[in-house]
């Protein structure tokens, strides 16, 4: 799995992306546990972050596969 970080999220992780090796699919909660273990400072921002799976917003019940590209989408501010 590849994790992508943008904007405020990137400033906290100080990374634009990183691999997350997992053998089995992860639920949203399981994925967040993995992310927060690496970047505990994201906890405060978590309620504002939407997850995207392979370029589309993921439903809360989404299952994330080992080869997915997962983006953490903080509140957007384009335009």
């Amino acid at each position: 799995m590849t994790l992508l970080y943008f904007a405020q999220v990137r400033r906290i992780t100080t990374l634009t992306s990183e691999p997350l090796v997992t053998e089995s699919p992860l639920s949203t909660d399981e994925l967040w546990q993995q992310i927060l273990r690496r970047h505990p400072d994201l906890a405060l921002l978590r309620p504002a972050i939407r997850l995207a799976r392979n370029g589309e917003f993921a439903a809360p019940e989404a299952v994330f596969q080992p080869d997915d590209e997962v983006a953490l989408i903080p509140p957007v501010s384009g335009g």
Partner: protein
């Protein structure tokens, strides 16, 4: 009705004139919007803003947004350009060009598109440029 759709994200300045995305004889209304970087951001003088996008997803969300709004407010064509990277004060970060049969559809599409762009399209203002003097 099929909508013609042109989407472009990139660091190039947005031209001061872009052609109508649907120059046919059925177009009666052509509306353009530019979101321009102001010299103040949150009360502070700035020289510009820096934009960042999750580009493939942003392009897909823009297209999805256009399709979905086009059902409610049928328009002939849409051109969306969002500049990325540094954008100086006074220059456009965003351009929308909408061609429609009548102005009512075009106005409703424009307002709806902007509202949803600012909610759902992964583009961010990430930084400010220092104010010049």
């Amino acid at each position: 009705m099929t909508m013609r759709l042109f989407i472009q994200l990139g660091p190039e300045p947005i031209p001061s004139a872009l052609p109508s995305p649907a120059p046919g004889p059925e177009t009666g209304a052509f509306v353009e919007f530019r979101g321009i970087v102001r010299g103040d951001e949150g009360g502070h003088a700035v020289g510009g803003l820096v934009y960042e996008a999750y580009q493939p997803m942003a392009e897909r969300e823009l297209a999805r947004l256009a399709d979905s709004l086009g059902i409610e407010h049928p328009v002939h064509a849409l051109r969306v350009v969002h500049r990325l990277g540094p954008v100086p004060v006074g220059e456009a970060a965003l351009y929308l060009g909408i061609a429609a049969r009548h102005r009512a559809e075009a106005f409703a599409f424009l307002a709806g598109f902007m509202d949803r762009l600012k909610q759902d399209v992964p583009i961010w203002k990430t930084d400010t440029l220092p104010a010049g003097r």
